[in-house]
C-alpha cells in the first residue's frame, strides 16, 4: 500500500495518546478523526493540525469515516464493545485495519472477524503492544534459540489498580465502569496472553483447547468508593458484577498450560506477571530474573534473592530481540517504554510492504475470545469450556516446521 491516509476512530485518553505520540510522531497522514463525543473528535482534529497536517474531516459516527473515500486505513481506539463491529465494517469496505486491544464478550464477534478477513483479505493488525515489549521479545528470542528448553507452562496477568479510573467512570466517560457493573470475566486478557501465545505458537503449531475461569468476590471497588467517593449514592449502593481477581487456566493442544490473572480492583503495583517456564530455565517478571539450569543455580546454598533477583538485564546484550537491538540504536520513542512505537512501526511497515501482519486476525480472535469464554466459565462456577479453533482446523499446518 502506498499513500496511507488514516481515519482515526476513538479519541479518549488512549486514542489521543497514541495519535499524537506515535501515529503523528511517525509522520503518518491522518485525514479523518471520529469520536461519539464531539469534543473528543475536535481534540483529535487539533492534534492533527498541531502536527502540521491539514485539518482532518471530523465525524461522530464511525460509518462515516469508513465511507470517507479519502481514508484507506482505519485505526480503532474506541471503547472495547465497538472494536470488532467497526473492524468488520472497515474490512468489508476494503479499508485496512489496526484495532486496539480488549476482550470480546461474544464468540460470534471473534468468528465474524476471521470470516470477514478470510473473505476480504483486507490487512488487519491487532494492536497488542505488549507483544513488542523489550522483555517479552527478549524471552521470545531466548525460547526460539532453545535457551529455556521445552516450554511447558506460562503465566501472566493484567495486574493494574484501576479503582480510580473505574469509580470515576461516569465523570470521565470511561467504558470500564459499565463493564465492571455488568460483567464478571477476564475482561482484558490480551496484554498477558499475547506474548505467551507467541511463545507457545498458538495458531501456528499449537492451540488453546480448554479454559476454566474462577472469580473471587467483588469487594475492592465497593471499599474504595466508600472511602474515596462517599457522595456517590448510585455507586455506593451497587454490587459490582466483576470479581476482584479472576484466574483463568488454559490447556493447550501440546499439553502446556497458561494461567492468566485479571487483577484491577485491589491495591497493588503494576505488573503483567509475565513468566515462562521451560525444561532448561525460566524468566519471571515479578523479580525480573532469568534462572537457568546451570551448576551455580543448583548449588544447595545458592541464595536466589541475593544473587539473581533482577538479573534479566545481564541477558540483554546477548538475547535482546533483533527488532529491539535496532530500536535501541535508533532511539526508543513513544509511550509504554517504546512498545507502542515499535508496534505501529511494524504495522505501517507490513502495510507498505504488503507483508503478513505481526499480530493477525487469528491472534485477535483467539485472544479476545478468552473474555467471552471466561464469562461463561465463571458463571458456571469455573466449569471447563472449549476454546474454539479460529483457524478452522489449520493450526497444525506449521507443526512440521
Amino acid at each position: 500500500m502506498e499513500n496511507i491516509r488514516i481515519g482515526y476512530i476513538g479519541l479518549g485518553g488512549r486514542g489521543q495518546g497514541l495519535l499524537s505520540s506515535v501515529v503523528l510522531a511517525q509522520n503518518e497522514r491522518v485525514t479523518a478523526v471520529c469520536d461519539v463525543y464531539e469534543d473528543r473528535a475536535e481534540a483529535g482534529a487539533r492534534l492533527v493540525e498541531e502536527a502540521g497536517q491539514a485539518r482532518p474531516h471530523v465525524y461522530t459516527e464511525y460509518r462515516d469515516v469508513i465511507a470517507d473515500p479519502e481514508v484507506n486505513v482505519i485505526i480503532i481506539a474506541t471503547a472495547w464493545e465497538y472494536h470488532a463491529e467497526i473492524a468488520v465494517a472497515a474490512m468489508r469496505a476494503g479499508k485496512a485495519v489496526a484495532m486496539e486491544v480488549g476482550g470480546s464478550y461474544t464468540l460470534e464477534q471473534c468468528y465474524e472477524l476471521v470470516k470477514v478477513y478470510e473473505e476480504t483479505k483486507t490487512p488487519f493488525m491487532f494492536l497488542e503492544n505488549c507483544c513488542f515489549g523489550r522483555r517479552e521479545m527478549m524471552v521470545l528470542n531466548m525460547v526460539e534459540q532453545g535457551v529455556l528448553g521445552e516450554v511447558v507452562h506460562c503465566s501472566g496477568g493484567y495486574q493494574h489498580d484501576l479503582r480510580d479510573e473505574i469509580s470515576f467512570g461516569r465523570e470521565n466517560r470511561h467504558y470500564r465502569l459499565r463493564n465492571y457493573l455488568s460483567h464478571n470475566c477476564d475482561n482484558y486478557p490480551t496484554h498477558d496472553l499475547g506474548p505467551i501465545a507467541k511463545i507457545l505458537k498458538i495458531n501456528r503449531g499449537n492451540r488453546m483447547m480448554t479454559l476454566s475461569s474462577t472469580a473471587s468476590r467483588a469487594a475492592g471497588l465497593h471499599a474504595y468508593i466508600l472511602e474515596n467517593k462517599p457522595e456517590d449514592e448510585f455507586l455506593k449502593s451497587r454490587q459490582f458484577a466483576q470479581g476482584d481477581v479472576v484466574t483463568t487456566v488454559i490447556k493447550c493442544a501440546d499439553g502446556s498450560t497458561i494461567v492468566l490473572t485479571l487483577d484491577t480492583t485491589l491495591p497493588r503495583y503494576y505488573s503483567r506477571g509475565f513468566t515462562v517456564r521451560g525444561t532448561k530455565g525460566m524468566y519471571e517478571e515479578a523479580t525480573d530474573s532469568v534462572f537457568l539450569d546451570c551448576a551455580a543455580h543448583k548449588a544447595h546454598d545458592f541464595d536466589w534473592r541475593r544473587t539473581c533477583s533482577g538479573n534479566a538485564a545481564e541477558y540483554e546484550e546477548e538475547y535482546d530481540h533483533p527488532l529491539w537491538k535496532q530500536f535501541l540504536i535508533d532511539g526508543v520513542q513513544g509511550g509504554h517504554d517504546g512498545m507502542d512505537w515499535l508496534e505501529f512501526q511494524q504495522f505501517f511497515k507490513a502495510l507498505r510492504e504488503d507483508a503478513p501482519m505481526p499480530v493477525d486476525v487469528y491472534d485477535a480472535a483467539s485472544w479476545m475470545a478468552v473474555t467471552a469464554l471466561s464469562e461463561m466459565s465463571v458463571a458456571r462456577g469455573g466449569a471447563v469450556v472449549d476454546v474454539p479453533d479460529f483457524t478452522g482446523g489449520k493450526w497444525h499446518r506449521e507443526i512440521l516446521g
Copy 2:
C-alpha cells in the same frame, strides 16, 4: 499430659533431621524408633543415644511402636502414603499424634482421620511447619489487625526443584519417585495452603467449596534424566504421570479464591509464592514486599521495584507475630529458619497443657484432601469438584465471632 515418651516413626532424611535438630534438641524423651528399613531405624536409635538418652526400642513395624506400652506420643515422618493409616491406628490406641505433612490420595483417609479423632479425642497435630514461618505469621497478624482490609484472594505454591531427589529415588529409597511415576495431582499442597487457610479462616467461619486443577504435560523429569542419568534405562523409557506444573483454583464459601501451584520438576529457585490480597493492601513473597493503599504507593510516578521490592522487613518491628517476637528474644533455633522448632514447641506445649492443637485434624483433613481432589479434577480435564466439609456442617460455628 505429663511424662511424654515418644515413639518416632519414619527415619528418612526428614525424619532424622527433625529428630535430632528439634525433638531431641528440645530435650523430649524418645523411647522407641521405627523405620521399615533397619539401617534407618538404627540410625535413629543412635541419634537418641547421642543426645544422652537411653537406647530406645527399635522397630521396623509401626504397629509394634503403637503397641509399645511405654510410648504415649507418636510422631509420624514416614512416606506420604502411610501418614493417615498410622495416625488412625495411634489415635485408636489412645496415643497422641504429631503427623508430618503430605497430601492424601483418597478422601476416605481424610474422613477417617476426623472420625477417629472425634471418637477418641486423642490429641492430634498436623505438622505443617509453614504455618509457623515468620512471614506467614507476620501477614496473619497484619490480616487479623485489619491492615490489609478484607482478604479476597490468596495464592501460593510448592515451588521447589526436586528433579535430583526424584530421579535418584530408587538409589535414595525416596517415595517421591513412585508417586511421580503414578499420580498426576498437587501432591504436596499443605505448605502453601496451610498459612492461607489460617488467614481465610477455613473450617473456622469459612470453608473451601469447589476446586479445579489443571496439569501441564510432564517434560521436566524426562529431560533431566536424559542429561543427568543417561545410564538409567528404566527411567529413560518411562512416561512420568506427574505434570510439571499443576495449578489448582479453589473457591471458598465467602467468595474468596485460592490459587495453588505445584511446581517441582522444572528448574527454578525455591519459593512458596505466598501472596495475600486484601482491599487495603497485599503481601507478596516473590518480591518479599508489603504494598499498602497509601498516598505514596498511589502516586503515578511511583517506582515499585525501586522503592518497595523487599520492603517487608520494615514491617517486622510493628507486625511480627507475638510468637515470633518471643522466639527472636529466646534465639531462633532448628531447621527451616526456625519454623520446625516453633511448631514442635507449640505441639508439646499444647500437649502438656491439654490445650487445642494449633493445626488440628480438621486442618489436616481438608488440606490433605486437596491432593485427592486435584487428582480427580486433573483426570477430568480440570473439571470442578466439590470439596468435602470435614467439620460436618459446623464450619460456621465461629462466623459470628
